[in-house]
Symmetry: C2
Subunit: 328 residues, 2 copies
């Protein structure tokens, strides 16, 4: 079976999707949709149409799954419901608190258009959610922990860039090793925000800027930094470009739980990711779930779904027989 | 929804199931079936029937899911198909090479009886299989590694006990740290059997036995030890009972894979388990999948399934709304 894919939005995630499609021979990239002038955009894959986002409905019968690559703040809440009425869609909506309302909007649109939609696919939400869910179902008496990093937080980097006198900045979220070890020991510790993660910032300041004032503003910034131990390094723009141009990320989902007649036995389940490129890994997860979306649509499963709803075999291009013989 | 469970076979796994049911308020243990004289068996849960395996068909309408707790060598190949004709069933069949033929036999019986069956549920096969499958679907260009331990291998312990002059023995399978680190680095090393695991044996010999001969026989035993570096310790029966009475286990499933235009980025996905009690954790996985089996049966899904086929949400007693709000 060949799955025809459309990419809606061509930033880091869209480029990651384009690369991932090349690694999956059962998928074909049909078109990339952009809100920019299509003529201004050169994409990596030869022979693929670049079209205006305004013309997307003309591709209704040419695309099996539309992959939305916009941001969660303003793009996806509008775009995913809009497109779900006309296409089977998948997105990586990651504002955890707003997932139920996004689900409801996408579900209504997908039902109306008799399409299949998946939201919040990636690694968190996504693979981390799946592991939190499975582990808590297996060990009902236990505690869950999610650690992020070491990796670049785009939101925190942006927050630093908004401070007066800052030219550019990169913020790394770093899980604290002692906290990880305490969790892995099965002791189920109560951990404060400060005990779980450290924030390390590399900041380029304007010539003559008051770096002491900038450092103070970073460390005292509410929500972003005030509740954490934060380390600030001032470096040159050349150093920032040379040493901090990547977008690595990762993290850990750990559940420890008890079993036995008197709950005397402890078990620790740990899932971890170490990613050179956050958007490329997110894209790889989305492409596997796009396969599942296409299959479910062919089976007539209409409406909105999450990673909790998808039989794992639907993610793989292998047959059930192959999976059973080789991977079970 | 209340799920009525039967336990077929009351060894370590059956006892683990009994404990796990107590941790899941939506489940009720109806009866334990034994091939021994039921009067000779006292179980941990008060008020639950202990019945003869011969009388199991009398419980046909009283049990939603029968959990089979026999061994994979001779019990399950006969018992699971036999019972799948009359009950929805779940087993932990773990002879990897024979899974396809076991599946076929159980599927035929379940189809005939219009029941729902699941085979090979536990942690390997089971959660490890699920992680191998998901990770290889997400990162198609990559390599898979499974390490077991540190933990007790019942089969290897039994093999040592069959040597002349051995009173008792316990064998630990230990993953080799250097190999784990090489895999975690994303280098995708080619590893021999000897490079992946070490085997450590604690042996109680008869008074006056030739321990040099016993050690040689262990280390040269084909299949079990010859391909590994093996360490043998001779200890007293008291020491064995004091220090080696537990049945811990665990292991690691790691996939490293590449993405990007020129496959220039490396990602590492790791799933690991650290278990105080192998049978109790296996039981906890089975009980969660028994919930899925009951739900699928109520939905009319007939035949044999594996962990690859089950939507993750089916394992949890929580509603989709709760899962979405709290765990996604």
């Amino acid at each position: 079976m060949n799955i025809r894919i459309g990419i809606f939005g061509y930033g880091n995630l869209g480029k990651g999707i384009e690369n991932a499609i090349r690694q999956n021979p059962d998928m074909t990239l049909v078109a990339v949709f952009t809100r920019r002038d299509p003529k201004s955009l050169t994409i990596a894959t030869e022979g693929v149409t670049v079209a205006s986002a305004d013309d997307v409905l003309a591709y209704k019968d040419k695309i099996d799954v539309m992959i939305l690559c916009g941001g969660s703040a303003t793009d996806l809440p509008v775009q995913t419901p809009m497109l779900a009425e006309h296409f089977s869609v998948i997105d990586s909506f990651d504002t955890h608190a707003k997932i139920p309302q996004h689900f409801a909007a996408v579900n209504e649109a997908a039902q109306k258009g008799k399409n299949t939609a998946m939201i919040s696919v990636g690694w968190d939400p996504g693979m981390f959610s799946l592991n939190r869910m499975l582990s808590s179902a297996i060990l009902p008496d236990g505690a869950d922990y999610t650690f992020w990093g070491k990796g670049v937080s785009q939101g925190h980097s942006d927050a630093i860039r908004r401070i007066q006198g800052v030219v550019d900045a990169k913020q790394y979220t770093i899980p604290i090793e002692d906290a990880l070890e305490a969790v892995r020991s099965g002791k189920a510790p109560a951990l404060t925000t400060r005990e779980k993660h450290l924030r390390e910032c590399f900041v380029v300041a304007e010539d003559g800027a008051d770096t002491a004032r900038i450092e103070k503003e970073i460390k005292e910034m509410p929500n972003y930094f005030a509740d954490y131990d934060t380390v600030v390094h001032f470096i040159t723009l050349d150093e920032l470009r040379r040493d901090h141009s990547g977008i690595p990320h990762g993290g850990f989902v750990i559940r420890s739980g008890k079993t036995g007649k008197d709950l005397e036995n402890t078990h620790v389940i740990e899932y971890s990711l170490k990613l050179d490129s956050n958007p490329e890994f997110t894209a790889s997860v989305i492409v596997a779930y796009a396969r599942a979306t296409a299959r479910m649509h062919r089976e007539g499963k209409v409406g909105c779904f999450t990673v909790f709803d998808i039989p794992p075999a639907y993610l793989s291009p292998k047959t059930s027989e192959e999976l059973m013989a080789k991977l079970l």
